[in-house]
Amino acid sequence: MRDALSKGTIYLLLSLGGILMLLPFAWMISTSLKPANQVMVMPPIWIPHPIQWSNYAEAMRVAPLGRYFLNSVIVTVLSTLGELITTILAAYAFSRLQFYGRDILFSILLGTMMVPGEVLLIPNFVTLTKLGWIDRYEALIVPWLASVFAIFLLRQHFLSIPKELAYAAKVDGCSDSRFLWEVMVPLAKPAIITIVLLKAIGSWNAFLWPLIVTNSKEMRTLPVGLTAFRTDVGTIYELLMAASTLVILPMIILFLILQRYIVEGVSRAGIKG
């Protein structure tokens, strides 16, 4: 009897907390669909009447949100793909090849993980200025094409693949690179999906770096464009919420589809996005 009662309390508390988690999103979507005269009212209206889908078109008209969206997609896809390739190659070398200085090199790389990104900001900005890459896709993508953390994660996974598999493949005349791409990579699929998802989320949501290396409207990514948009439209909250929805929704959808890999990846390695 006591346990049944406390189960009810547990569900009640969890639901209350869950509502608090979701309320901002509900409020965002609700506001984004309201006619202007239902936004700034007290008490708040939850269900817009009529539902005004045109707010989204209006937001896209006021600012080049389509262009920002495209930029974010380009940057996210290319930096994720690029990082994946450099990570797979490096993780293979660190887990399967014997070479001079391997352990020292690996320790140095791990050491750099302690350095906060803010330390790298200024020299990287200077480097990109010298390369003439400021306000171009290169600046948004190239510095992020390799990640020590990803290499570390995949190396650990590669190490758990039995060596006998490699010997067997060799006996069968399988080349090293074929073995890597056709045996190891498919076997490490869960780790690879985790790496890809965390990178995609991080890249899509990145703000400080794109803010610093872009000047023109055409090169802004969604988060940077959104802060500019917020300055432009001021307090037209239905448009602001429509634009925020466009930034937030793709990642929520991605997360809902592939959440298993994200949640498992986070709980296994304790990753800060």
């Binding site: 189960k7 969890l14 008490p43 350095v115 330390v119 200024i122 990287n124 917020r230 919420m241």
Partner: protein, 295 residues
């Protein structure tokens, strides 16, 4: 096992080259340059000539009221976010661990804020914090609390920032706590039940000590993450560090010195102080993490 040789080393370099080039140019080289930059005291940015090195930038920070304010606010932020966030997320993780249905569903719900853009969700919270028409003041009005100027009153700028950060980070901590809780062997609890230990006793004598490595890990990671708060401030206060600089933090300070004032030396010195703080915390984590026995 194969021994390292010249051939294998060359082969490894081939595999490592793409990652290494990027990491050297954009990770390792800047760590060194940034340190040198923090020592530039007389510098011609346009021609890239350094006339004099010294500790002037660090001395400047030592006496700069703005930097002191940034440090103070950052500490307030860390102290405001970390303990509360840990307490709430541990509580929720314990509820989720209580063998209930829908665990996966709730875990997903709590985790959603973590995958969303900080900037976008901060703009949503800006609307929630609105003094006259915001949701938060509306809910508070049910309890007879008169409207609070969350974002325009300097006294409330830090609390608003802290509320947003706690809300956004809960899911991440919950997921890690859940993983830690599931590592505690069930037989401890069985033994405790046989001894008729109360729920409270079971928590204090089994869960809390056995969970301590997880709790410690989360605290360190949260403290380090909180030290770097920036995006939230920029979006919440519309490109300003709060009303009358009331939400100026260390990273915001670095951003201003670098991006607005072009004072690369001072910005680098401030970044290195941030690095030092993070470094000490990381060492602490490694040291205690190694010493701590899992009982």
């Amino acid at each position: 096992m194969q021994q390292p040789s010249l051939t294998t080393t060359l082969k490894a370099l081939l595999y490592l080259a793409p990652a290494l080039i990027i990491l050297i140019v954009f990770n390792i080289y800047p760590i060194i340059t940034s340190f040198l930059m923090s020592l530039y005291t007389d510098y011609d940015y346009f021609n890239d000539i350094v006339y004099r090195y010294g500790f002037d930038n660090f001395l400047f920070l030592l006496h700069d009221a703005d930097f002191h304010l940034a440090l103070r606010n950052t500490f307030i932020f860390v102290l405001g976010v970390v303990p509360v966030s840990i307490a709430i997320s541990l509580f929720i993780a314990l509820l989720l661990n209580a063998n209930i249905k829908l665990r996966g569903f709730f875990r997903t719900v709590y985790f959603i804020p973590f995958v969303t853009s900080v900037v976008a969700i901060s703009i949503v919270w800006r609307w929630i914090f609105h003094t006259e028409y915001g949701l938060l003041n509306y809910f508070l009005s049910w309890f007879g609390i008169s409207p609070i100027k969350w974002l325009t009153d300097p006294q409330w700028a830090m609390p608003s920032l802290i509320i947003l950060a706690i809300w956004k980070g809960l899911g991440y901590n919950i997921v890690i706590f859940l993983a830690g809780l599931q590592n505690i062997p069930e037989h401890y609890y069985l033994a405790a039940r046989i001894d008729r230990a109360s729920r409270w006793d079971r928590f204090w004598h089994i869960t809390w000590p056995l969970l301590s490595p997880t709790t410690f890990f989360i605290s360190i990671i949260s403290v380090i993450g909180s030290f770097k708060v920036f995006d939230e401030i920029y979006a919440l206060f519309d490109g300003r560090p709060g009303p009358v600089r009331s939400a100026l933090t260390v990273v915001y300070y670095i951003f201003e010195k670098f991006y607005r004032d072009q004072e690369y030396g001072v910005a680098s010195a401030a970044a290195y102080i941030l690095f030092l703080i993070v470094f000490i915390l990381t060492l602490l984590q490694l040291y205690i993490g190694k010493r701590r026995v899992h009982y």
